[in-house]
């Protein structure tokens, strides 16, 4: 039994707890759900109605023209025009109608609406109408009416097709992978060796280096940007190479992730049982062999934790990419592309939501697949520090 289970017996009524957690979960989920649903909706429907109506079907306002006065038939003293408000071959369900654009729901379907001047108009749900007047109709053209038509829910993959091809999100996806994969794997190996040296080798200055690593964990990125940008530009000028390149950002990401990596891995590696390492030494194994054959396999959980952090961080990063990579098609990462779209496509939610979803889908898969390691890494990084 733990603390939580004893609280269970004495706390608030269970139902309230269940309900409040449910409400919190819904609040937390709704924002993401909103863009997910929207990204599959038809562009016209997105701006016509909120995404929460996507499954019930939205009401769209449309305009139609009744038959021309020349088609009127005389029935007793009345003149009658009849037909369907829908064009040939189309169908729908009329919910309400009106004669002014500002009031498309003025009249109910199926009931005769008195339009004044002896005119009455009846529009049925299936779109058929009867328009009568107690005198001949004047004018040349048919009367304009406005309809509130129930639009059936319509979902489409077009938005994804558009952003992946014409908006360059597909290319950016590849660019993001190009940045994130090497920037995750390179620092792991380097920091693992350093962490091993800092935990199982005796040498002067060890404590100082550990203190430096701990201190560097919190150094804000902003401190590094200006000198590094200058340095990259100088190197670019000196050797005649572009100052913004993938190699540059791999090294930058590796270095920025290094303090946390060394700290997490050192905590873990230092906690491995001494006997295993000592007995391997007695058997004549070199440090290199011990590291490769014993430390690396045993540290798998810590390595996994850090690689998830580093992958999420490099994939989701915007600032480092903005400084160290160009904005050309071949270097623009997903976060940068999304930021650019926010500027150029503001209000075009079919583009923005589909792009956003492509941006977040990889980290979310990683998150749900490897959540266990992520939590373990977080706990090792924070609880120990306290």
């Amino acid at each position: 039994m733990n603390a939580a289970s004893s609280l269970r017996r004495i706390g608030l009524p269970r139902l309230i707890v269940h309900l409040s957690v449910l409400v919190i979960c819904i609040i937390w989920l709704i924002p993401t759900l909103g863009i997910l649903v929207t990204s599959f909706r038809d562009a016209g429907q997105i701006s016509a109605s909120g995404w929460w109506t996507a499954f019930t079907g939205a009401a769209e306002t449309s305009a139609a023209r009744l038959g021309e006065p020349s088609t009127a038939k005389q029935e007793g003293t009345n003149y009658v025009i009849s037909g369907s408000v829908f064009e040939q071959g189309r169908s729908g369900a009329v919910r309400a109608f009106g004669t002014r654009v500002a009031a498309p729901t003025e009249f109910q379907v199926g009931q005769a609406a008195d339009l004044g001047e002896g005119e009455t108009l009846t529009i049925n749900e299936d779109g058929s109408y009867v328009y009568t007047k107690n005198a001949p109709f004047g004018g040349e053209r048919g009367k304009r009416v406005y309809l509130s038509v129930a639009a059936p829910p319509s979902f489409t993959l077009d938005n994804y097709r558009t952003v992946l091809t014409s908006q360059g999100i597909g290319q950016s996806f590849v660019n993001s992978l190009t940045v994130a994969i090497p920037a995750t794997i390179i620092p792991i190996l380097i920091s693992a060796f350093a962490a091993y040296a800092l935990s199982w080798m005796e040498f002067p200055g060890r404590a100082l280096i550990i203190a430096m690593v701990v201190g560097l964990i919190v150094v804000p990125l902003q401190m590094s940007l200006i000198p590094l940008l200058r340095m990259y530009n100088e190197i670019g000028n000196l050797f005649g190479v572009p100052s913004r390149s993938y190699a540059g950002i791999w090294l930058a990401h590796s270095a920025f992730g290094m303090p946390l990596a060394i700290y997490l891995l050192r905590n873990y590696i230092a906690g491995l049982p001494r006997e295993i390492i000592e007995s391997a030494r007695v058997d004549g194994a070199s440090d290199f062999e011990i590291f490769v054959k014993i430390i690396l396999p045993l540290s798998f959980p810590a390595l996994a934790s850090f690689s998830i952090f580093q992958f999420l961080w490099t994939w989701n990063d915007l600032l480092v990419a903005m400084v160290f990579l160009g904005t050309g098609k071949d270097q623009l990462v997903l976060t940068g592309a999304l930021n650019a779209l926010l500027g150029s496509m503001g209000g075009k939610w079919e583009i923005l939501t589909a792009s956003a979803f492509i941006t977040i889908v990889v980290p979310i898969i990683v998150f749900f697949a490897l959540q266990r390691y992520l939590v373990r890494g977080l706990l090792a990084g924070s609880v120990k520090g306290g």
Binding site: L7, W52, F291, N316
Partner: protein
């Protein structure tokens, strides 16, 4: 496109290979340079000692080089640049600092950063603690935790798009498709352009970070709550304490250390908040924060490294106390090993 993927994979393989080769080769060279002859005990022990002295530095070298080039040197360089003019060439004394104190936008940024610091860490820790306590008591708590933790995986830019859609405003008689305005309208209020609403727009931006970070606080605090010894709570129950009293007087004091860690971690994050402001408002409508102002000056009008450096140093100064505290804490732990 395909070739880019292939080359990226190639780089990974080559990079791993080069790294492994470095460590393996350097170890081999060490063995050749300082041989351990079987017939000369004295020479063998001298060379073994030399190997033991050099080997740690071979293992550390790549990491140390990266740390020094990308973090240690830039900190020093930024400090020096803050006393130089926009191109970094001429010494100008304290004039960049004087500019900062008098600049309205800089003051606005400081004010906003303080606002963020006052609201976000407190809100995340509070919500995280409440949710941790609640979810620990129900059978589907782990599922609920997963859902609340999930925004952690979403980029700040992605989260900004998600929330911008919630804050969306449509003018005229258009249907409000933003959730917030639809709710306001449902209750009879007038739709607002939330992200340009003076002063309050800061809070709408903070909501995004709170949404992302509450899961982090929840996970850490939940683990700490589970570590509380059962006896302390049993004793309180026997003494007739209510659930509320047990929470505030028995549980919270025992996880005080963890609360502090969560608080400081989020504080550091808040000081560096950049993406959210950039994508939501780009600092317009009085939402500028230090990290964005710094970035702005890095490139504004060809860039001003002096002013930019001063702003970076302000952020650095704010995290320094936390840094010192962390180092002390780590030293204490190592002493106890």
């Amino acid at each position: 496109m395909i070739s880019q993927v292939v080359s990226a994979v190639g780089v990974v393989i080559a990079g791993v290979f080069v790294c492994a080769l470095y460590y393996w080769l350097s170890d081999k060279i060490l063995q050749v340079v300082f041989p351990v002859p079987v017939d000369n005990v004295h020479a063998a022990s001298v060379n073994l000692n030399r190997r033991a002295m050099i080997r740690p530095w071979l293992f550390l070298a790549p990491a140390l080089i990266l740390l020094v080039v990308y973090l240690v040197y830039p900190v020093v360089a930024t400090f020096i640049l803050s006393f130089h003019d926009r191109s970094g060439g001429n010494f100008v004394g304290l004039s960049n600092y004087r500019w900062a104190i008098q600049d309205a936008q800089f003051r606005q940024s400081i004010f906003n950063n303080i606002l963020w610091l006052a609201v976000v860490p407190a809100a995340c820790t509070f919500f995280g603690l409440v949710i941790a306590v609640l979810t620990d008591r129900i059978w589907w708590g782990n599922l609920a935790k997963s859902l609340i933790f999930m925004p952690m995986a979403i980029s700040f830019v992605g989260a900004s798009v998600i929330w911008k859609f919630i804050y969306e405003y449509r003018g005229g008689s258009d249907t409000q498709i933003g959730l917030l305005n639809a709710i306001v309208q449902f209750f009879g209020g007038d739709p607002q352009v939330w992200i340009s609403l003076p002063f309050w727009n800061n809070f709408f931006l903070m909501a995004i970070l709170i949404w992302i970070q509450t899961g982090f606080a929840m996970v850490i605090l939940s683990a700490a709550l589970r570590g509380i010894p059962e006896e302390t709570i049993e004793a309180a129950v026997i003494d007739g304490a209510s659930g509320w009293q047990i929470f505030w007087k028995i549980m919270v004091p025992q996880i005080w250390g963890t609360i502090a860690v969560v608080w400081t971690t989020i504080t550091i994050l808040v000081l560096k908040v950049f993406d959210i402001v950039l994508t939501m408002t780009n600092g317009q409508w009085n939402t500028m924060v230090l990290a964005n102002l710094m970035f702005d000056w890095m490139f504004r009008g060809g860039g001003d490294s002096g002013r930019s450096a001063v702003i970076a140093l302000v952020i650095m100064a704010a995290v320094t106390p936390i840094m010192i505290w962390n180092i002390r804490q780590a030293n204490k732990e190592m002493g106890g090993h």
